[in-house]
């Protein structure tokens, strides 16, 4: 016993000093992550089982919020709208990004200029983009209806018509996101060994076959990664809707995060908003975990 003590003590002091400075290095970042991510995640979960609000004292109400949520037709509409938006944005964004990347991975004239142009919308702030598109879609003075009128087509109330508004938002999101997809695909294309293409050409393969048999399969992990990040991102759409439609017309563009914002800050039903948050969080978590798995496999 005595011997063990005498050997373990100096080790312990060294360890303690090492630990002490490492914890000091980590402390500020960990405090911030705790306050901005960890505690909120736990708080959301706890709040979702209460009726916390500014208006009355809080009490624990079990699964009532979730039961209410699953019977809430407005929430169901928001879920439907969110899925519509996610699917509408994700697939065209990836397709356009892939086509742009493949085209600009060749030595076409002006390719750096093309890359820069396609990436410009990514740099624009969400609000600047939303304000500009609100003008583009403006029914009585906007350029889009102006062009339609010039070529003899009827002008449309893009953001005022319930069956058009969501698609108008989707087009704007594709415009803003496909530059990101292009950049990620370009990085993926550079990882494909050139020998593959040369071997295929020597075997007499045509451009279309090379694209479908080599390029697309070799990019599959990049494609899956993009799919996940786009789903996670589009599921959380809020700013564009806040500026352009406020969820209207007739709730046709009200998404889950927008409704959550309304519930919490409009009606101060924080508990009910937290239940929405939790559902959203769990859905996104599933996609994130899948995405992380894929990234890890790609790195290995």
């Amino acid at each position: 016993m005595a011997l063990q003590n005498s050997t373990s003590r100096p080790v312990k002091t060294v360890r303690f000093h090492q630990n002490w400075s490492a914890y000091a290095f980590l402390a500020p970042a960990l405090v911030i992550l705790f306050l901005s991510l960890l505690l909120p995640a736990v708080a959301t979960l706890l709040m979702s089982f209460t009726d916390v609000s500014f208006l009355k004292p809080t009490s624990f109400i079990g699964f009532d919020n979730y039961i209410k949520l699953f019977n809430d037709t407005r929430f169901q509409q928001a879920v439907g709208n969110t899925i519509h938006y996610t699917i509408g944005v994700t697939f065209p964004t990836m397709l356009l990004g892939l086509l742009a990347a493949v085209a600009l991975n060749q030595k076409v004239p002006g390719r750096m200029a093309f890359r820069t142009i396609f990436y410009l919308p990514v740099l624009t702030s969400l609000i600047a983009a939303a304000v500009v598109w609100a003008y583009v879609y403006e029914p009585y003075a906007g350029p889009l209806n102006g062009v339609l009128t010039r070529v003899g087509l009827p002008p449309q109330p893009w953001l005022q018509n319930p069956s058009l508004a969501m698609n108008a938002l989707i087009i704007m999101a594709i415009w803003r996101d496909f530059g990101t997809a292009m950049i990620i695909y370009l990085a993926g294309l550079q990882d494909i060994p050139n020998d593959l293409y040369e071997a295929a050409r020597l075997d007499g393969a045509k451009g279309k076959d090379i694209f479908l048999r080599i390029t697309v399969p070799m990019l599959s992990s990049v494609t899956f990664y993009l799919l996940i990040i786009l789903i996670v991102q589009t599921f959380q759409v809020f700013g564009a809707i806040y500026v352009m439609t406020q969820g209207g017309p007739l709730g046709s563009t009200e998404t889950v995060v927008y409704q959550m914002y309304q519930t919490a800050f409009g009606y101060t039903e924080f508990g009910y908003g937290a239940a929405m948050s939790t559902i959203l969080f769990l859905t996104i978590l599933v996609f994130s975990i899948i995405g992380t798995r894929i990234m890890r496999r790609k790195d290995a």
Binding site: A22, P28, A41, T44, Y119, A141, T149, V243, M295
Partner: protein, 310 residues
């Protein structure tokens, strides 16, 4: 096939193919493809061109239908009006404080934490790293409500007692804006990945000389990390400068509005004029585009390699 067996012929064949890739043959498919590319580029810049064009139009001209693409004249007055709108100066200051504060704190805190996770021995290291990776997956937008409540309940701030009750906490303050964005799991992860790649020999002689961990970090490792710090800095600045949701929810006072909020207020206001709104949008967009054009290669490459390839 016999041709291909001869190395010289094979080489010629390959260079012919290479050349074919570098200078696309003038066939119909290539022409159509290039026209499509030009069309896509035009469609992409069109909203920007309309933004700039409208920003120069007169007050009557903006209601003309169909609108003309080329403005009647260059009405710089719209830009003066946008800048003269009562809160614009204050909004610029707020945006700069928020963006710079968030950038500086990310650079400091993420590099310290990344360094500790990459190069120091301490108990609980793997657990903390796993936590950081786990937090990468938490969607920020779905957390806005509790973050708001937490910031409101920070003890001793804004008239709060030690339990965080009674006052407004950090609502409507710069601290409240910056604090939740002052360090991100992504930034810590990125800096940790960078510090892991540097050989251990760099700090061993300094350790033998008895330098403190902070001196080693500050004098030896941090200067090496300059490229990674540049990428983290640009990304942090861009995300705070462009942020809309968090300042919107946190700040109810008009004098705490950032430029992004200001643009939204200008557009939704009762006396909104499209020409002035577009002038403001141009003013907000231009700096980011200029910074990007100057730092293009580093930022895109850095963002892609750190984000995608780990």
């Amino acid at each position: 096939m016999t041709d291909l067996a001869q190395p010289a012929a094979m080489e010629r064949q390959i260079t012919a193919h290479r050349r074919g890739r570098e200078f696309p043959r003038f066939d119909v498919m290539n022409v159509i493809g290039y026209l499509l590319l030009l069309f896509a580029a035009l469609a992409t810049v069109m909203p920007f061109l309309w933004m700039v064009s409208t920003s120069f139009k007169g007050d009557q001209e903006i209601f003309r239908f169909p609108p003309s693409f080329v403005p009647d004249g260059l009405r710089w007055q719209n830009y003066l009006d946008a800048m003269a709108s009562p809160d614009a100066g204050r909004q610029l200051v707020n945006s700069l404080i928020y963006a710079l504060g968030s950038t500086v704190s990310n650079l400091v805190f993420c590099s310290l934490a990344g360094y500790a996770l990459a190069r120091m021995q301490f108990s609980g290291r793997n657990l903390i790293f796993a936590l950081v990776v786990g937090l990468l997956m938490v969607p920020a937008q779905s957390q806005i409500v509790p973050v708001f409540l937490i910031v409101q309940k920070i003890p001793f701030a804004g008239g709060n007692d030690w339990l965080g009750n009674g006052g407004t906490g950090l609502l409507n303050t710069y601290w409240g804006m910056i604090l939740p964005t002052a360090a991100t799991p992504f930034g810590i992860f990125m800096m940790r990945q960078f510090f892991t790649r540097i050989p251990m020999e760099y700090e061993e002689s300094a350790k033998l000389d008895g330098a403190s961990p902070f001196t080693i970090f500050r004098r030896i490792l941090l200067p090496l990390a300059r490229p990674s710090l540049a990428v983290l800095g640009v990304l942090s600045f861009q995300s705070a400068w462009n942020d809309f949701v968090w300042p919107l929810i946190l700040n109810s006072h008009r004098e705490m509005a950032t430029l992004q909020i200001g643009l939204q207020l200008l557009q939704s206001g009762p006396d909104a004029r499209w020409n002035v709104v577009m002038a403001m949008a141009t003013l907000i967009t231009l700096p980011v585009i200029i910074v990007y054009l100057l730092a293009q290669r580093h930022v895109i490459d850095g963002a892609v390699t750190s984000g995608v390839k780990g």
